[in-house]
Symmetry: C2
Subunit: 419 residues, 2 copies
Amino acid sequence: MIGGGFGGLQVVRGLRRAAGVEVTLVDRQNFHLFQPLAYQVATGGLSSAEIASPLRRVLRHQANARVVLAEATGFDLGSREVTLDKLPNGAASMTIPYDVLVVAGGSAYSYFGHDDWAEFAPELKSLQGALALRSRILSAFEAAELEADPGRRAAWLTFVVVGAGPTGVEMAGQIAELAHDTLRHDYRAVDTSHARVLLVEAADRVLGTFPPSLSRRAARSLEKIGVTLALDTTVVDLADGTIDVQPRNGERSTIAARTVVWAAGVTASPLAALLADAAGGEVDRVGRILVEPDLTLPGRPEVFALGDMAAVRSAGGEVQRLPGVAPVAMQEGRHVARSIGSGTSKPFRYRDKGNLATIGRSHAVADVKGVQLWGFAAWVTWLAVHLAYLIGFENRLLVLTRWTFSYLTRGRTARVIHH
Amino acid sequence: MIGGGFGGLQVVRGLRRAAGVEVTLVDRQNFHLFQPLAYQVATGGLSSAEIASPLRRVLRHQANARVVLAEATGFDLGSREVTLDKLPNGAASMTIPYDVLVVAGGSAYSYFGHDDWAEFAPELKSLQGALALRSRILSAFEAAELEADPGRRAAWLTFVVVGAGPTGVEMAGQIAELAHDTLRHDYRAVDTSHARVLLVEAADRVLGTFPPSLSRRAARSLEKIGVTLALDTTVVDLADGTIDVQPRNGERSTIAARTVVWAAGVTASPLAALLADAAGGEVDRVGRILVEPDLTLPGRPEVFALGDMAAVRSAGGEVQRLPGVAPVAMQEGRHVARSIGSGTSKPFRYRDKGNLATIGRSHAVADVKGVQLWGFAAWVTWLAVHLAYLIGFENRLLVLTRWTFSYLTRGRTARVIHH
């Protein structure tokens, strides 16, 4: 099993009672990251370890599972071996054999071919990314406090979030609350409530995967907490301190902004292409490997791919439109574990339980099997679902404690700048 | 006020009602670190933000205090200015004027002139140091799990702590519990209970600042949880993967150990020498600046130095023997605040409330005004005192939650390796 994300962990856990099965879980990180809350680490609401569960701890009583901390860098499907690199003991590399291979390498944000933009607009798929973003965001307020020049100060207090999917919306909402609420009494020279938070989206509405009525409600909530929406607008250039945007029917303009957060586009893990190469298979436009309805590779019933890096064909041959969210990966993981455990092969079918996004304090939207919720009701639903899916009672209690304090005091106390 | 540690924060807080006083607190970090628990971050017991309090948050309602995130790099006592560098807005440097200057830069561990050893044996005075140590310690177990060669595996499972003061004792105890207890079920190829934890100390007993009877009790507790003591032993060389030690009456020997933690010696912040140079004053053998009984610099009644970087003369002229612990710095800080607030000058006198060190689960020693406590009673005292001195009810509750889970499950769940 390559990858200990939402899908990978379900595969391993799902095989805990499978007779005669030994599972090796390979991951570059020694922890499972609860990625849906990474944006709260980035904005000082949570401390890093509170959304990270050590993989060994999660699997310590599963005798048929072992964990290897390494990076998968090659697949030999003929001799059934995986090459591992970046080993913790400093050895050059090693290969491990397999009978069944499952790969779930996830995805990253894509900079639409402008990889050089990553330097100016970090993303937050990883814990490292979230901590780096936290340092940038908090340092921007520190810089503004010291800056005498009004123009430069305004640039330090301008935050642009690119992409209005759930992560972008959540991030913009958190930065707005941080500036307009949490930090209000913390600075002396600057009034952080004058900070501008801009959410740039190429489509004509936020939360494109939600029903239009919820998009409208989310947009209103965002504007209420101080986020400026720039819909129908694309990013055309990005440099240190400036971002150039182009509205669909308008003039290109340059915004002076020291902090840009990237939450747009998506590209599959490079493992998808590596695996496709090894199998003679295909990848789609965003780099996902095409898999059969049962999540195996064409002609390779012993090799599975799942999660954000896999595009699943339906029985008819066309690719299913599955969102890149944790529930899809988890259901696929459980499906693969059942296939391996039983030795049978059935087509995967996604059961959509709903869609959730939070905007800020008491504001969220939810679309649960056609039932639409918004405002406080959706927000409580969001809290409950995220707490329930966090791994471990201890982390649930820690996160609940932080959220309770944040709610009562409007504070965010995990505001450590790591240098 | 330079430095937001235990002493500096007391100065700022102590001046909150001082009429006509404006305080500028300068620190390189945006948080106050509760350094006595840094070793628990290093061993995965706590997450970083749980022992860090954002300075702005702590001071947000103190209208006469402002915070500047920067590094003090120069003092001009004649024109009463401090030079600040590493400014968050990227500006080259700035100077700020003062009427009264207080410097509390703290201390670091000293490598006895072998600064090159720092690379092989990190220390844990800072949060960054604690996180780096955590990654090293946890990665050593990961490496051992993958290592086939028994000799190399043993080296990965050998942990040497240098210095048996409170930090060294606590660190050795935590590593022993981590290896022999917490991680026992987490690995498959290696039995972590075979890990060796060696505590090297040049003196003839551990916890040299405690009464000898408590040193003996602490030594017994350490041995009970699996720490091997090497007393009367000095470190003579350190390289990547090996440490050479020399017992007072024995042969020099080389130990193969991949992880060495440094908790010996102490050296004052470079700010002490910088300030002494500017004032024409003196520093002592460990780099501390010599200050008058009222904590001012000789001939400079408007400049104070305190905490680990200051050596305080008594009225008779000789230097007082004050331990380098938080209570000394805090009392000095309150003393300086009173002096500044009242405009008077009185000699500082330390009120020793006692000495505490924890060894591990249910094991601690305490010397409270001549009353000696050990075992469970001392451990509960230790827990209560540390919780009481943590800043903020939220962090107290988070740490208490972690400790409760650790006690009940023998787990340490903040085991994130940051790359």
